[in-house]
Each structure stands twice: as C-alpha cells, then as structure tokens.
C-alpha cells in the first residue's frame, strides 16, 4: 500500500516539474501502462472545466498515444476499465502513466456513506429517521417468482401478503399495518412506486363484476428480474413524500441500471413445475349415488322420491352407461403446470454512458387445465453524462401479457360469465357421470363430451342439469386477456452549483413520465356448452377493450448546503408534480353468431354495448428538509400539498405534514466503551398525517343525465345529491422505532410500535332517507378507526463466519389491532346483518371498540342419536337412564340439565326458530340432526343462541429465514406464518351439507344413517330448507394458523477459473422449491384466506396457491 502511494506521489512530482520545461502546448503524447505492461485501448481525453470531453484518443498496441490539445487550461484524463482514472493538468507534452487497479485504490478511501436511493432526499442510510425496511432482490436470485410480491411474502415486518388464488395472473392482497379504509372500492393495497413513479392506471369501471378474483394484478407487469431493491415505507414520516397517495404505505421498487464496465451479457433460464395441493377427497361415483338415495329418501321417508334413473344403475335405462362411472372431476381438470422463464440482460457502460437492456419471456401453464400465461417484458435504462454536471437518463419498459384463462361461472345462471372457478364446478359435478359420452353398447368413451340431457330426472333441474361439463368448458370456452403496458420516461439532472460535499449543491431533476396501459378482453362461450334453454342466446361472445394514458411530470430542486462546521449537515428539497390522465373503454356482447365464429365481429345479434370514459388530474407540492447535528441528532420534516379533482373548491387542497427525529445513542462519546458489542442504538419517533380521497369524480356538482324517453319526449333527470362538504379522510399516525446493532452490526434488530387514527372516514354509499328522492349518497365523512401494532425485525450480516462457512438469518413478526372508535349509528345499523335463519349464512357484526372480521355462529355439539318419538315412548326411568348414558335426542333441557316436559308429561321437543305467526321456520329437530347449544335454555335454537366464535384477524404474522454459504454453495430458506386467526370454512360446509345434488367430501361417509349412530356428521337430507344442519357453527370455524415454507433454495456457482477456457465468467445453478409444505390444522386446501372489509374470512375454495419446483441456471458471458 505504501509503495503505491509513493509511486503516485512520484508521478505527481514529475508532472509538476515538467510544467516549467514547456511553453505553449498544442499536442501531447506518451504511454499508458499498468503493472503487467503497456495498456492497449486506454482512453486519453481532454476535459474542460464542466467535465465535458473536448478531445479523445485511444492508446495503441504498445500503449502509446498522441492527442491534440485545444486549451492548456483544460485537464487531461487517463482511464481504463477496471483501473483507477487519473486526471492531470496539461503542463507537459509527454506523459508516462502508470495506472493502478481500481479495487486496490478503493481500500485506501476512508469512508463512503451509503445513501438512500428513494424518491426523496438522498439521506445517508444511517440517518434515516422513519420506519422503512429494504429488501434486496439479490438475496433471492435464481428463485422463480412471477411477481415481486411473492418474493416479499414473510420478509417485511408488518406487511401481510395473501395470495388471492393460484390462478395464473391473479394478484394478491397486501395490507401494510392493517386496513386503513373501510370503503370497499378504495384500494387498500400499498402504493406501488417504480423508480419514483406511481403507477397511474385507472380501469375501475372495467368489468367490476369479476373484480374480486381477477383484480388487476398490478405487479404482474413488472418482471422481478428487473428489480434491484425494494424499500417498504411504513410510517407517515416515510410516506409523507407521497402525500395522500401513500395512505396505505408504499412499496418502492428500484430497477437495475447499467454499471461501468465491459458489456456483460447474462442469460438465465428457470424451469418450474407446479402442482396443486389436493385438499379433502371427494366421493366416488358409487358413494355419491348411495348418499343421494338416502338424501332423497330421508325427508319424505319414501322410496318414490329416491327412485331416480341416474342413480339406479339400471342397465335398461337408456343413459345407463353415462351414469355408472367413478369420475374424479378434480383430477380431470388439474394438471402439472410448467413454467419457463427466460431472461437476457446486457449491461455495461463507460464514463460517458451506461446502459442496461433486459428482456424476458415467460411461458406458463396453470395447474388447472388450459390456463396459459405468456409474458414478454423488456426494460431499457440508459444514462448519458452530457458533462459532469448534466446527466440525461431515459427508461423504457414494455410488458405484454397474454393470459388465457378458464371460463368463470355465474352460479345463478351457469351460462353467463361470473366469478365461480372451474375447480369449484368440478367439485360440484356428479362423479357417477362420465366425462365423455359412452357408447351405450360397449361402454367405451366416444370423443363427444357428455352433458346431462334436458329430459333427465327433474331432481337435477336446479343444479346438475345446469352444470356444464368442466372438461368441455376448459377446452371449448375461451377467455383471453391481453395487456400492453408501456412506460417511457425521460430524466434530466443538472448540478447547478457545487459537485461535492465541500461546496453548496443545488441540483435540479426534471422528469417526464408516461404510462400507457391497454387491456383487451375476449370471451366466447359456445353453444355446445349450453345446458339450459336457448332463450338467452347461443354462441355468446364478449369483446372489451380499455386504454389508459397518464402523464406525469416532476420538477425537483435539492439544496445541500456545505457548512464550515462539519457538525452540521442539512438538505432541503422542493418539488412540484403534476399528473393528468384519462382512460376509455368499450365493450360489446353478442350472441347467435354461426358456430365457429368466436369474436363479436362475426355477426349475430348485439345484446349489450357499453362504453365509458374516465379522467383524473392532480397536482402536488412537496417541501422536505433533513438536518443532522454531529451525525447523531437528526430531524426530518416534510410537508406536502395535494390538489385533487375529487373535491369541491373549498376542500380541494389537502396539506399533509410529517416530522420525525432520530437519536443515535450509540454514537455518543459516553457509549463508546460498549463498541463493538453494541454497535448501534437509536430511537426514532415520528408523526405524520396523510389524507385519502374518494375514487369518484364530480361528486361536488349536481349532475343531470338522460332518462328513458316518454312518448316522443327525450327525458332528463337529476342524477345525484351533491356533496357540498366532502372532506379528506385523515390518517394521523405515530411511530416509535428502536434500532439495535450488535457485534459490529453483524446482528441488527429493529423494533417498531405504531398507532394510526383515521378520522373523517370516507364511508361509501351512505344511506339517506329516500324521501329525498335518492337512497344513498356516494360518500360521507363519518367515523373514526384506529390501528395499533408493533413489529420486530432481526437481520444478520455474516453472523457466523468460519472459513468458507457463513450463516445468516432473518426473522420478523408483527401484529396489528384494529378498532372502530366512532361510527354513525345509521351506518352501524345498516352494516349489521339480521340473521335470516338460513344454512351457511354468515353474520356480519360491526361494533364500536371491536375489531372487524369477528365471526359469529352457533356452537355445534354433535348429532342427535335418537328420534324424538323414540325418546317420547320411553318411561321416565328409561329416559333417565338414557340421558345419564349420555345419549342424545332432540328434547329441551333446563339450565340445571333436567328435562323439560309439557302439561301432558311429554318432553318438549327442540325446535328451530319457533314463532307463533307464520314467519318462523318452526323446524322440529329429529334424530340425525345437528345439535346446537341452546345457550339461553329456551328450548329453541334461534338468533339468541349465536355466540362469538373468534376473529379472522391474526394475532401474529411474520416470517423467518436462514441462509448458509459454504464456499460456492448456498442454501436459503424462508418461512412465513400467520397465527391466531379463524376462518369460516365454507367450502367444507358446502361439501358436507348433503342438501343438494352437488358432490360431497368423503367425510360424509361417516354420516348418521340410523338411530343410535354416534357421529359428528348429520344425516343426508335433500333440500335447502329441509334441515338446518349446516348453519354457520364452530363445526366450520377453524383455526387458520399456519407455518408455510415459502421457499428453499440450493445454489452452486462455478468459479471463474474453471470457465475461462470457454469464455464464460460465471455459471450458477439453482434448485428451489416454492411452498413445498404448510403446517396447519386447517382442513381446507390452503389457509391463506384474508378477511375482506367488514366481513369475516371465508374460504370459498378458491384455487389454492400452487406448489412448485424450479431448476435454474444463470450464465454470465
């Protein structure tokens, strides 16, 4: 090291002595070499005061160069990739340059502060005073993720990510520190920001009916391979820079950019096999027919009702062959899915420009047959240094996604498009029916799909007859979604004053960003799949398209003063931002086109046309300041003003301040003796306010729209009541964070506690007295809600290091508690449902000072073993013995456990919802019916016996992971968990109801069949109101806690020395398993079920998250 220094010193001295030897210099020459000898291709250039290049040459084979010189006041610069650049004054004609390795020089540099690369001030990492957590995508390199959120699951404390479904391209529900809004239409997901740009796509009008399952998967259009870092902003001080947009938290994604160096080509390939976890087993055809026969017999106790051709296995029945099968419909519609991810990047750059071009192609087949997702994405990042002061950057990203989905059913209609998935249909479909029509003589499958005939038994009218054949639907119906997502951006950065920390800096950054999003939806349902009468048309087709264009410009000025007293440091940022955008869409429904034509253009009659237009504009001013004293007393302040088109002139502007501070206690001199054991101790209090706005425009104006004509008069009508005083919904939050670092920051712990209070909540569709002519207003400010919680995050940095062995771990957990503090009485009473006494009905109860998502239901106590009449015939002694033996019959009991008898000495029979007038159900329980606890001992089961059964909100969520490096090998694992939440397993309820012709789970084989049977599964009874055995009760409320292995990955990197002979730099191999197992007591397929809005978490058997195994290879050329 010392030698190197002396060499440089000598060279400099030589240069200065030469200054006196020469007079006007017009050209220079010399040689450039390094330790190994002369350098060919080294750049020599003359640069002016602004750092602009005036003249430039390249050294020849022997390292020699000659260059004309324009101005001796300029300087001369020698550079070569990988070597330290030297800049010298032009004061001699001959230069003999010895270049040193850049990496060697780097070790000489004293200290470089890592700075935050976000959208706000470039604050040194150590001085960040708000609650943020960063995640480097490098740590999950080689993993096969379709979207970034999969990689984040379980990694960020306080971020609860639930996959919506395993269907290809479906998004996920993300909640950062609990829900901040109750309106169902306001998006409660955190804001996604890519390189400082908020994605402004507003297609809210589009296809609302199926919005839940096909929620626009925002992250699908960002290839995880393009992402370098993810930063999650949690508290109001961190999100303040985004004002009202960041109310639900912010996820900032930073994309990769080109770096200086020789062009580098990287190719990676990942091959993934996916399959679906199975869940409970369904009945075989034989078990099914047996069940149905019982279920038709039981209500009437009559063989006639159960004499159904399709269940009789009667060879003389013309369709006999079609109904003597054991079809596993689930097996028929599921498969191993295969995913290929190809990704190529070229990156590199010199001192003037750097670039990165990435392109990826993904092809994926789903775990349900015929699902296919194709995605082509490309991202180009170019940086060009016009001079040392001016830098121009341009980004361009394009994603093309083509998603071939399955048809989704409308359960009321079964032929129109809805929300019910193919798997759900497969689980309902009768298993004794064959997939293909079978030859009536030989019983062999033909090539035609079989659908129940219209003249089949009337018992199946309501369900099986309407169900299309799932395999046929997958193959014949088409649902195509195509999206194009483009976002070009141009950025200019200009350093107006100083260029380093010793001078005052004033930097301007201007950017123009456009986001263009086009979506096309095409659907076709062919006549072959019509199962009911053709009134509503055959060969129905739907074409819809929508486009959204938004334009954003940001002008940022950053002032960084240079104080003489180095104890002070400060930064100041001012920004103006303007956004405007619009979206339009249209759709067309047609039916009756000739068979073979699948698009709406092909004739037929139009059954529906619609079009819409949306427009939005906003304007933001931001002022942000950062101040640090001695690097350990830190204060930040941000104020943002948001202007929106959503409010009337008086409430149009919202002002959202935030402040935060940090005290790095460990940097105090008196703490020094604890170093390095306690390397970091800091506390960070913060406070901030943000606002939310409604998602509709024109609320503050009275609108008049057209009505239906009358005779020959064109008609108009008032459309709304204008909202004169609609205000911003305000979220005020406090956060207290503690940063701890031990053993020279090898072990880091972050603890955060927060409380956020939401006031003036924007309640949607507020009911008003309809004597006003309207029954709702779209929004009203009403109510107050609070989220309180804490988070804990541990990460390590080479925690254990022994030779080649390095071990790291990370763990986090968090908890959020939600409480409604105030709410309008009207709203509360409207939200709370009245129990309708139906099977499978979930109750919603929203109460002040209680969290959302509470589950209410009956307590299930098993099945009545004996009939009422059997018990009634007994003598008193027999009855006593009967009850003492713990046997059960549907009779009413007193509080003290004694039998209730009526005036004539007969035991009082248990009834369901008994009333004197005709409005009750007045169902009399019998043997084989469910026993519900008669909480108030009134001899009947009714709404008063409903009790609290648990909360759908988890007590704890989080994850942990372990990384082990051994030489060239690396093993990574990540787990995530939710703990202490309850789920209503509606899928199981339906699969054990035995009230319809739908297929049931194998559990019903243990049903009550005859008196005396001791079981927990009630008897089979056909008819939705023939019995009340499947009321929501604790029988179906299950613990949703789970521990999921998110992924495990083993990777191996071949060293460079083994590869040089084929000219490769690096080859890495990966093997990983995603979601290989879930440890849970939950009996459903997947416990990843989120509670939506006010309602409890209900499992409707969506397509579960798939399990997958990936082989990957990455090659650097």
């Amino acid at each position: 090291m010392r030698i190197l220094k002396s060499i440089i010193l000598t060279l400099t001295l030589m240069a200065t002595t030469a200054l006196f030897a020469q007079e006007p210099i017009t050209s220079v020459h010399g040689t450039v070499s390094d330790e190994m000898g002369p350098l060919m291709g080294a750049t020599v250039c003359e640069i002016d005061g602004n750092g602009r290049i005036i003249e430039s040459v390249i050294t020849d084979l022997n390292g020699n160069f000659t260059m004309k010189v324009k101005n001796t006041k300029d300087r001369i610069r020698f550079s070569f990739v990988g070597l330290k650049t030297q800049t010298l004054p032009i004061n001699k004609t001959t230069y003999k340059i010895m270049m040193a390795s850049a990496t060697m020089i780097k070790e000489v540099t004293i200290k470089s502060k890592r700075r935050v690369t976000g959208n706000g001030l470039p604050i040194p990492q150590r001085e960040v005073s708000s609650a943020t957590q960063t995640f480097s995508m490098k740590s999950v390199e080689g993993m096969s993720f379709t979207t970034v959120d999969e990689a984040l699951q379980g990694q960020i404390a306080g971020l609860d990510i639930i996959g919506n479904s395993g269907d290809l391209g479906s998004g996920s529900t993300m909640r950062l520190r609990g829900a901040s809004s109750l309106s169902t239409l306001t998006n409660a997901n955190p804001l996604i920001v890519v390189d400082g740009n908020v994605r402004e796509v507003n297609l809210s009008n589009f296809d609302l009916a199926s919005a839940n399952n096909e929620k626009f998967a925002e992250l699908l259009n960002i290839n995880p391979e393009d992402i370098a870092d993810i930063r999650v902003l949690k508290d109001a001080a961190a999100t303040a820079i985004y004002g009202s947009q960041g109310g639900n938290g912010v996820i900032e994604l930073t994309t990769k950019r080109g770096t200086r160096g020789a062009p580098k080509l990287t190719y990676s390939l990942k091959l993934t096999g996916t399959y679906q976890p199975k869940g409970y087993d369904m009945l075989s055809g034989d078990d099914y027919t047996m069940l149905l026969k019982e279920s038709y017999f039981n209500p009437q106790q009559n063989d006639v009702t159960s004499d159904i051709n399709e269940l009789n296995y009667d060879p003389t029945f013309s369709e006999y062959e079609q109904y003597n099968n054991n079809t596993d419909w689930r097996d028929a519609v599921t498969q191993w899915g295969l995913r290929q991810n190809h990704y190529v990047t070229i990156s590199g750059g010199g001192e003037k420009a750097s670039f990165r071009i990435g392109g990826g192609f993904d092809h994926e087949t789903g775990t349900i047959i015929k699902q296919k997702l194709q995605r082509f994405s490309t991202r180009v990042a170019l940086d060009y240094n016009v001079s040392e002061r001016i830098r121009v950057s341009t980004n361009f990203a394009l994603t093309y996604t083509k998603n071939d989905k399955n048809w989704q059913f409308n359960t009321n209609d079964w032929t129109s498009y809805g929300t019910e998935g193919l798997l759900s249909l497969a689980l309902r479909k009768m298993p004794n029916m064959g997939i293909y029509e079978q030859d009536p003589l030989t019983g062999e499958d033909t090539s035609a799909y079989y659908t129940m005939l219209q003249n089949g038994s009337s018992a199946f009218d309501g369900d099986q007859k309407k169900y299309p054949n799932p395999v046929a639907v997958a193959n014949l119906a088409t649902v195509k979604q195509t999206t194009y997502d483009m976002s070009p951006e141009l950025i200019i950065q200009y350093q107006l004053l100083g260029m380093d920390e010793d001078h005052w800096q004033l930097n301007w950054r201007g950017s123009v960003y456009m986001s263009i999003f086009n979506e096309y939806n095409n659907r076709f349902y062919p006549q072959e799949l019509r199962t009911v009468s053709w009134n509503s048309g055959v060969n129905t087709a739907y074409d819809g398209s929508s486009k959204s264009v938004s334009f954003n410009t940001k002008q940022t000025l950053t002032l960084i003063p240079a104080f003489n007293n180095k104890d002070h440091s400060a930064m100041l940022l001012g920004r103006f931002e303007l956004t405007s955008g619009s979206s339009t869409g249209q759709s067309e429904d047609k039916s009756g086109a000739p068979s073979g034509i699948t698009a709406t253009q092909g004739g037929g009659q139009i059954t529906g046309l619609s079009s819409w237009y949306n427009q939005w504009r906003s304007m933001y001013y931001t002022v942000s300041a950062h101040y640090a004293y001695k690097g350990r007393y830190i204060a930040d302040f941000t104020l943002r003003a948001d202007g929106t088109t959503k409010f009337g002139p008086s409430n149009r502007w919202g002002y959202f301040p935030s402040a935060s501070a940090k005290w790095i206690i460990s940097d105090e001199p008196w703490m020094e003796k604890l170093h390095p054991t306690l390397s970091m101790l800091a506390i960070r209090p913060s406070w901030g306010r943000v606002g939310s706005q409604p998602n509709q425009d024109y609320l503050y104006t009275s609108k008049y729209g057209s009505a239906d004509r009358y005779i020959d008069m064109s008609a108009m009508k008032p459309q709304n009541i204008r909202l004169a005083n609609l205000k911003w919904q305000i979220n005020t939050s406090y956060n207290l964070g503690v940063d701890l670092g031990f053993f020279d920051d090898r072990l880091n712990i972050v603890v955060e506690a927060y409380q956020s209070t939401i006031t003036d909540m924007l309640m949607q569709n507020y009911r008003i007295p309809s004597n006003t002519g309207f029954s709702t207003v779209p929004y009203r400010n009403s109510g107050k809600m609070r989220n309180t919680g804490w988070e804990f995050h541990i990460s390590t940095n080479r925690l254990i290091e022994k030779g080649k062995f390095v071990l790291d771990l990370n763990a986090n957990f968090g908890n959020n508690r939600n409480e409604i503090l105030e709410m309008d009485e009207y709203i509360l009473s409207n939200l709370n449902s009245t129990f309708g006494y139906n099977n499978g009905e979930t109750l919603r109860r929203v109460q002040i000072h209680n969290p959302l998502g509470a589950i209410y239901g009956f307590r299930y106590k098993g099945v009545y073993q004996y009939n009422y009449s059997t018990f009634n015939r007994m003598t008193d002694d027999e009855r006593k013995a009967f009850l003492e033996a713990g046997k059960t019959a549907p009779v009413a009991m007193n509080q003290d456990g004694s039998l209730v008898v009526d005036g004539s000495g007969n035991p009082v029979r248990m009834v369901y919802n008994y009333t004197n007038d005709a409005s009750g159900r007045n169902y009399r329980f019998n043997g084989g019916d469910a026993i519900y606890e008669d909480v108030n001992y009134d001899g009947q089961i009714n709404a008063l016996d409903i009790v609290y059964l648990g909360s759908s909100l988890p007590k704890l969520t989080g994850g942990f992971g372990l990384t082990i490096n051994y030489g060239d090998w690396r093993l990574m694992t990540q787990f995530n968990y939710r703990f202490g939440n309850k789920i209503i397993n509606m899928a199981r309820l339906r699969a054990e109801a035995m009230t319809s012709n739908d297929n049931q789970s194998q559990a019903v084989n243990y049903r009550w069949r005859k008196e005396g049977d001791e079981t927990t599964i009630p008897r089979a009874m056909y008819g939705s109101s023939s019995n009340y055995n499947t009321l929501v009760s604790d029988r179906f409320v299950e613990d949703g806690s789970y521990l999921r292995m998110g992924y495990v990955q083993l990777s191996y990197t071949l060293r460079k020395q083994y590869l040089q002979w084929i000219g490769l730099n690096r080859v890495s191999f990966y093997f990983s398993a995603n979601n290989p197992f879930v440890l849970t007591k939950y009996t459903g397929v997947d416990p990843d079920i989120s509670a939506g809005g006010y309602d409890p978490a209900v499992d409707w058997s969506q397509t579960p998250r798939s399990r997958s195994y990936t082989l990957g290879i990455t090659v650097d050329f």
Binding site: R617, I768, F774
Partner: protein
C-alpha cells in the same frame, strides 16, 4: 460559446417562467374537470327544453317498472282479486304479500321510486321560474302549464303513498345538497290529503285542457285539466267531501262528452258509438263510452281500443283520462315497455304471470249461475269476465293479450278467443290511471254516500232521485259489457231500493269494471276509512284465503294493518318515522319460548 450558453439560459428562463405560469394560473382551472356524459347544474336550466326534459323524466320515472309494480301491488294485490300464479318463488317478497305476511323487510315497502319522481317535480318547480326569467322563448303560459303538470304528478305520487302508508313524509322542497334536512317526520293522512287538494285547486286553471291534435298520445299520456279534475274527484271522495267529488266528476264527464262530440263529427268509426245508433246512445245512458261490440253479437271491442292499441288514441281520448303510455319496441327508441305487466300478469312465453286471478275469482267464473262478481242476471254473460281473466289458463288476461273476441252468436254460453299475448319483455299495453267509468262509479259512490239512512217516507223520497242517478251511472257502465246485442237490462232498478243495496252494487261494479287495474285494495281501504271498521276488507280479503285464515283475519282486524309498514332501512336512517304498530320489523327482535 458564451452566446450559446446565454441562449440556453434564456430558453431555460422562458421554460421556467412558463412552468411557473402553469402553476399559478393553472391551479384552479387545472383541477376543475367536468363529466362528459352528464350536464352539471351550472350549465343546465337555461332553456325551455331543459324543463321539458325533466318533466318527461317525471313521466318516465312514473312508468318505470318499480313504480308500476307498486301501483299494482299496493293498489290491488292484497285484495281478493289476486292469487298466486306461476314461478312465484322468483319473487319471495311478492309471495309474502299474497300470503298477507308483510313485514318491514319486504322489498315492496320501498318507496324511493315515488319520491324520486316527487323530487324531480320539486326540482322543476324550483328552477323553471328561473328559466322563464332568462329564456325569452319560454312564455309565462307555458311556465304555468308546466307548473300545473308537475304539481299534478307530484300530487299523484303522494296520493299513492298516503293510500298505501297513511302517514308519509311530505316535502315540497327539491333536494340538491347533502347538508339539507332529510329525516322528515311523517305528516298525517288528512294533512297531506288537504295540501294535495289545495295545491291541485290552485293549479287546475293553468293546466293544459287539450293538447294539439298533432300529438294525440299527449291527451291521455300527459296531465290535462281533466286529469287534475279526476284526481280532485277521487281525493274529495277520500276526504268524504261528496259534493265536491260529484262536482269534479261532472266536470270530467262534460269534458269527455265534448271530446266525443268532436270525434263523432269527424269520424264515423263504429267504435265511437256513432250518432246514428240510437241503440248505443241508449245503452250508455248518454255517457260517451266506447262501444263494446263492433259486429252483431261479437264483443270485446272496447277492450282492444282502451287498453292495447295506440292506433285508436283519438278514440280512447273520449274515455281515458290519464294513462302511462308504453312502447312495444323498447330498444327501438329507448322508451321502456310495460315490464310490470309483463312479469306479474304474463306474456307470450309464460302466459301465466307471477300472479293470477284468485281462486275466488276463478270459482266465480266457473259457476253456471249465481255469480257474485260477474253477476249474470237474466243469463246475460258479462264480457268483462272474459276480458279480465283467461279462465282456462287460470291467467289474467287484461293488458296481456292484444285483443279479445267474444262470440255470442250461439244460444249457449258465448265462446271467447284471445289474440296473441305480448312478446316477453315487449308489453306495450298502457297502464290506465283514470278512465271515465272509474269517475262515473266514483260519482255513483259519492251519490250513494249522500243518501239518508232511514226508512221513513221522507227519506225514501229524498233518496229516490239520488239512487236513480247512481243507478243510471252504474247501469251505463254495466250495459256496455253485456253480451247481448238487443238491449235487455241485466240490472233492474227495482232491486236497489235501499242505500245498502245500491252501495253494494256500486262497489261490485267497481270491482268487475276496474279489476286488475290496481284499484281494488284502495277501494277497500277507503270503505274501511269511511266506516271506521275493517269488516268489509276482512271479508273481502278472506274470500281468497285457503289456509291460515284465522291468523290473517285477526291481523286485519286492526285498522293499522290495512296500510303498509315503512321499510326497515328507512326507519334506520329516518329516526323521526314511527313504524306502523301492526307490522313486524323483520329484525331478530321478538322471541318466544318453546315451552
């Protein structure tokens, strides 16, 4: 070089100034966006066409399915005329109404569609004078006519509401902003009725008397002076002010006679009861009714003219006073079809609707003699029996088929053939709100109420001319429908000597004449109000009940029970409303012990 930098600086400066300019001036304008598919208030209410547009919006609101369905259900479905039809399970709320099991959660307790029209009317009343002040093309007389028109429409809506709910929130203010007082308490029946009468009395003179003949559908499809008189006639009848009722009935009858004169002068259509036919004159006792028979011994002519065929607009002008006009081609010009009739009464696809004639009515028809409803004195069959019900199909026929032909040429009972029913979703039969026979029978009812109760000679003497008058009115209505070319009176004056007898006749005639037109239950409510007892209504309602009769008759004993409960959602948001005590809230509120 220096120059170049200077230039860049200058461009930068201009750009910067431009940007600042955008910030400064843009702030308020930039954030102001307007909808493209709607007009905002500030740009509306500028010309006459705007006023007319909203008025048309009042009518199209009135003929919306939600409103017409309620006119039917509130006005008739609880009465003995209506029974269960097919696929009633598609409308659980309706099923409950027919079972007389109504609670606050029943969807048909919702009144928002009516108040929506009321609000449109109030909006016109608020802004139309401003338009008149600014638009010179909008004359004072046009403004007055418009004010009369919307006042009448508003009164009609309220009239439906009070007859259904008794006490309702009454407002004449247009609701535009969310900070207005909205939870208005209900005003008592009589107070509302009085203010309806007052407002109609004050505007009646300004209303259009005759619309131009170029718009023949306007004469019955929009509010005319006659329509206001008809409304006043009925309102006075409810108010028990029988003299005024009779006075307004006469004014309507006179006006219709005038129209008939004009028609007779210009047209020689046999349907109008042409001047030459003294037979027809005699048949209708001088009232301008349309003839029920076109050819000898073929009947059903009046049905087609009145209810289904707009081609005879000029003709039915002489009998229909106000009706909602529907179009059979809803997509064609974006005017709506009669969806309520389509669903409730039937269509070509499902010939029996959700409701059907009750068993009581069908049994009556099935009788060979001694009918209660369609009295068949002297063996002369009542054509309305066939027009109202398709007894073979057990379906309602009125408004469903496009024509009815009753063949009475044989000596046996007549045979009937029905024209095609309207295609599903394309029913274009007009929904009649007031027609002449309705007014005539109201006049008869009012006359009857002026009779003396006693049986003294003086009372009998006093009563006789009045009964004569009432009988003439009833008889005119009745005679049109007697399937007999050569006129033989089926009703005999001598049978109706006492007040009770003639009163009974008037009610019966109303029932058969206006069957399925949404009148019967209101008639029963009016009778109960008059007598202060629900007896008439209980016995009528009970005649169709097969099961749970005791429960229902018990329920209807209470005077409150003849009205409807307020919707439970309304009670939640309007705490000033007090629920009708006769009805269950539908909440999980009251519980009983099983033992």
């Amino acid at each position: 070089m220096k120059k170049k930098i200077y230039k860049i600086k200058r461009i930068g400066l201009v750009g910067f100034m431009g940007l600042m300019g955008l910030m400064g001036t843009g702030c308020s304008d930039f954030l102001e966006i307007e909808p493209l598919n709607e007009i905002i208030l500030e740009k509306f209410w500028t010309e006459k066409a705007d006023v007319e547009g909203i008025i048309a919006g009042c009518y199209s609101g009135l003929q919306s399915e939600a409103v017409v369905k309620r006119m039917m259900i509130w006005g008739e479905f609880r009465s003995e005329n209506i029974g269960v039809g097919q696929n009633i399970d598609r409308d659980a709320d309706l099923e409950k109404v027919l079972k007389e099991n109504i609670n606050a959660k029943n969807g048909y307790t919702k009144w928002d569609a009516f108040y929506s029209i009321i609000n449109r009317c109030n909006t016109v009343l608020k802004y139309a004078p401003e338009v008149a002040a600014s638009d010179p093309a909008y004359t004072q007389s046009e403004l007055s006519a418009h004010i009369a028109e919307v006042t009448a429409l508003r009164s009609l809506c309220y009239f439906y509401l009070i007859r259904t709910f008794r006490d309702v929130p009454y407002t004449t203010v247009a609701f535009t902003d969310d900070d207005m007082k909205m939870d208005i308490p209900a005003s008592p029946f009589n107070a509302v009725l009085d203010s309806l009468i007052n407002s109609l009395e004050s505007v009646k003179a300004m209303a259009v008397r005759r619309y131009p003949t170029t718009d023949p559908l306007y004469q019955t499809g929009r509010i005319t002076q006659d329509a206001i008189y008809a409304m006043l006639c009925e309102m006075y009848l409810w108010k028990k002010d029988y003299q005024n009722c009779i006075r307004y009935a006469d004014m309507v009858i006179e006006s219709k006679k005038e129209i008939a004169e004009t028609n007779r002068a210009s047209a020689s259509d046999r349907r109008s009861g042409s001047a030459s036919s003294t037979q027809t004159e005699e048949r209708f006792n001088g009232y301008p009714l349309l003839s029920g028979s076109s050819t000898t011994n073929y009947f059903g002519e009046a049905y087609e003219t009145l209810f289904t065929d707009d081609d005879y607009a000029k003709l039915y002008n002489q009998e229909i006073i106000f009706q909602l006009i529907f179009d059979d081609n809803p997509r064609g010009n974006s005017m709506i079809a009669n969806g309520a009739v389509n669903t409730f009464y039937g269509n070509a696809t499902s010939r029996v609707g959700l409701v059907a004639p009750s068993d009581y009515v069908l049994e009556d028809i099935a009788k060979s003699s001694g009918r209660n409803i369609f009295a068949d004195r002297n063996k002369k069959v009542d054509a309305r029996m066939y027009e109202n019900c398709d007894a073979d199909r057990k379906a309602i026929n009125k408004f469903v088929t496009q024509m009815v032909t009753i063949n009475a040429t044989q000596s046996t009972n007549p045979t009937v053939s029905y024209g095609s029913a309207y295609t599903e979703g394309q029913n274009s039969s007009n929904w009649v709100i007031y027609r002449l026979t309705d007014i005539m029978l109201m006049k008869a009812e009012a006359l009857v109420q002026t009779l003396h109760e006693g049986a003294d000679i003086s009372d009998v003497e006093y009563n006789k001319p009045i009964i004569d008058q009432a009988f003439t009115l009833v008889n005119a209505v009745n005679k049109r429908s007697v399937c007999e070319t050569q006129l033989v009176d089926t009703l005999l004056r001598s049978d109706y000597g006492t007040k009770n007898q003639i009163e009974e006749l008037v009610y019966q005639e109303r029932q058969r004449e206006l069957m399925f037109e949404g009148k019967r239950w209101f008639d029963l409510v009016r009778i109960c109000q008059r007598t202060g007892s629900t007896q008439a209504l209980v016995s009528a309602a009970m005649s169709k009940v097969t099961t749970g009769g005791a429960l229902i008759s018990n329920k209807l004993q209470k005077m409150d029970a003849i009205y409807w409960p307020y919707d439970y959602e309304e009670l939640k948001v309007n705490l000033n409303l007090v629920q009708n005590p006769a009805f269950d809230s539908g909440e999980n509120g009251s519980y009983e012990k099983n033992y």
